[in-house]
Amino acid sequence: MSALLEVSDLVVDFPTAADGVFHAVDSVSFTVSAGERVGIVGESGSGKSLTSQALMRLVPEPGTVSSGSVLFEGADVMAFSAKKLQKWRGSQTAMVFQDPMSSLNPLMRIGRQITESLQKHLGLSKAESRTRAIELLQRVGIPDAESRLSDFPGAFSGGMRQRVCIAIATACSPKLIIADEPTTALDVTVQAQVLDLLDHMATELNTGVILISHDLGVISSFCDRILVMYAGRIVEEGTAEQIVGDPQHPYTKALLSSILRLSEPIPRRLKPISGAPPLAGQRASGCSFAPRCALAIDACRTLDPALVPASNASPGQRVACGVAAPAAFELADEVTAA
């Protein structure tokens, strides 16, 4: 089965003050199949949002995608013309952002914001698009949909606005939805509703979903597969069960053990990860997690580990750590030698 989206060796560079470049996203590769829920989890600055922006070709200035390929149903997104890109973004893919207020036009009625893309991308008439807009709002659980078409975004609550954003995002039945922290600004009871809605899209409409979040709880309860990012790299990849149940990378392990869970006894103290993630452009040589890693050996400070199959032989689980999987260093060696 061919993948819906195939990202290979994606690199996003930002210029540094010292006239150098800094890889904000560094050799990121992954695939998303139709109907699959892929989660990207990481702390701020890990490159998780940039990765999604890069594959939509929306990297903010002065960043650039300096190498790598993005294939959507086999077509090379990086080679799309401006016109094709616009059509692709509007009809095949959709993005949902953290702050629904800033992604809606505050001066345009909700109805118009939905029908706009229906008319533009699907060529529906005014009347057809209006009927469809009502259906879409009903599908995302907005009561009294018909009368709400004439409301401005300001008349909706935060959760309702996010539903409107999802309605707009799904208007043209996209094959891929990228949701970047879609529930971070929402209350926990509303978060559950929005996640149910995205879940419905993946299950019923076979939409591929990339969910980006800092919250491992949200990611692991929603996603089939998880990518853990640290300092621009994927450091571990696996199913939700693998990542949560048998993490291999010291960062994933440390992250999981620094989290509080309602389902477990209350610890006397938390086990934090010492230090802080590296600042942009201040990456040391070797593994970027080494300065905070309790298991780091000398090799970790010089060799940049590759993402290799985990040594627990769990199918599909991959880890970029030379201590957890010695092959990561062997491959790193080859790369340096080449």
């Binding site: 926990v188 559950a192 692991s220 990860i273």
Partner: protein, 331 residues
């Protein structure tokens, strides 16, 4: 014996919303009859969704908002009646840490300047203020070298540590933490939570810990109040609230928290899913404010606001259907 440090009784805070494009002037009751006590050296956690009024309570205690009813007593003294020097004293007993350490530190001031400014307010001036700065930094886990830095040279966690050091400058007994760790990354959040716990143990601080994050509250708090639309709907010890929640809203909140645990997807636990969203405080529903979203709601809930009462498991809950305490008939 425990001593009550802070006593809030029937607090009401109402905002006036002026008329604007497409809306009328209205009065917004943000806090509606909130009562609680906080003992010295303990933590009261307040949870609730956005707009439930939890931050308004903290801001009213700090004097940023004015109460429209009820009373607040600190060490027995009525806060509303304090003036001049007494008010200044009161403000030093209580300090606040905000969610965003980017906004709450002056970007132009070095860390030492920020702290010295607060140290100056102290009644007993230290012999060497700069030494005091170093000691405070050490208390919050920062080296001396941080004294000469400015906020933009600090990470989020470091900034929050400076905010905590600033709060400690005046030797407070109570610190109001309003979403104090919510903006921090997970790995850094744990460091700051540990620090707050250590400081409580060492200095005997009391915390009013406001957070929407229930697992953080469970770690930090001795007592927990759950707020909904300006009211505390359930109040009890940590174990009462987390192990034996009585109010349907508390139960729904607890079951909505996604956890990173291995789940068998074939047997998904039936979760309490709330429909709808918190209603607007401008126009709270009749009866119990929670009734439009409550799975247990009956006719009485639509007409009569439930009083807070002691339940069989010990905590206070404002729900007609919370298990009432078994009344033992006196002989």
């Amino acid at each position: 014996m425990s001593t009550v440090l802070l006593e809030v009784d029937d607090l009401e805070v109402t905002f006036r919303r002026s008329a604007g494009p497409g809306r009328r002037a209205a009065s917004v009751p943000a806090v509606r009859g909130v009562s609680f006590q906080l003992e010295a050296g303990t933590t009261l956690g307040i949870a609730g969704e956005s707009g439930s009024g939890k931050s308004t309570i903290a801001r009213t205690l700090m004097g940023i908002n004015k109460p429209s009813g009820g009373s607040m007593r600190l060490n027995g003294a009525d806060v509303g009646a304090l003036r001049g020097r007494e008010l200044a004293q009161y403000r030093q007993t209580m300090q606040m840490i905000f969610q965003d350490p980017y906004d709450s530190l002056d970007p132009r001031m070095k860390v030492s300047e920020t702290l010295l400014e607060a140290i100056k307010l102290r009644k007993n001036k230290p012999a060497s203020p700069l030494n005091e700065v170093y000691q405070l930094l050490e208390k919050v886990g920062l080296s001396k070298s941080f004294a000469s830095r400015r906020p933009r040279e600090l990470s989020g966690g470091q900034r929050q540590r400076v905010s905590i050091a600033r709060a400690l400058c005046v030797d407070p007994r109570l610190i109001l933490c309003d979403e104090a760790v919510s903006a921090l990354d997970v790995s850094v959040r744990a460091q700051v939570l540990n620090l707050l716990k250590d400081l409580q143990e060492d200095l005997g601080l009391a915390y009013l810990f406001i957070s929407h994050d229930l697992s953080t509250l469970r770690f930090m708090a001795d007592y927990v109040g759950i707020m909904y639309l300006g009211k505390i709907v359930e109040l009890g010890t940590r174990d009462e609230i987390f192990e034996r929640p009585q109010h349907p809203y508390t139960r729904a909140l607890l079951s909505a928290v996604p956890e990173p645990v291995v789940i068998d997807r074939t047997v998904r636990l039936p979760r309490v899913r709330l429909t709808g969203e918190p209603p607007s405080s401008t126009n709270p529903p009749t009866g119990c404010s929670f009734h439009p979203r409550c799975p247990l709601a009956q006719e009485i809930c639509r007409t009569t606001a439930p009083a807070r009462r002691v339940t069989s498991s010990g905590q206070l809950a404002a729900c007609h259907f919370a298990e009432p305490e078994l009344v033992v008939a006196e002989a």
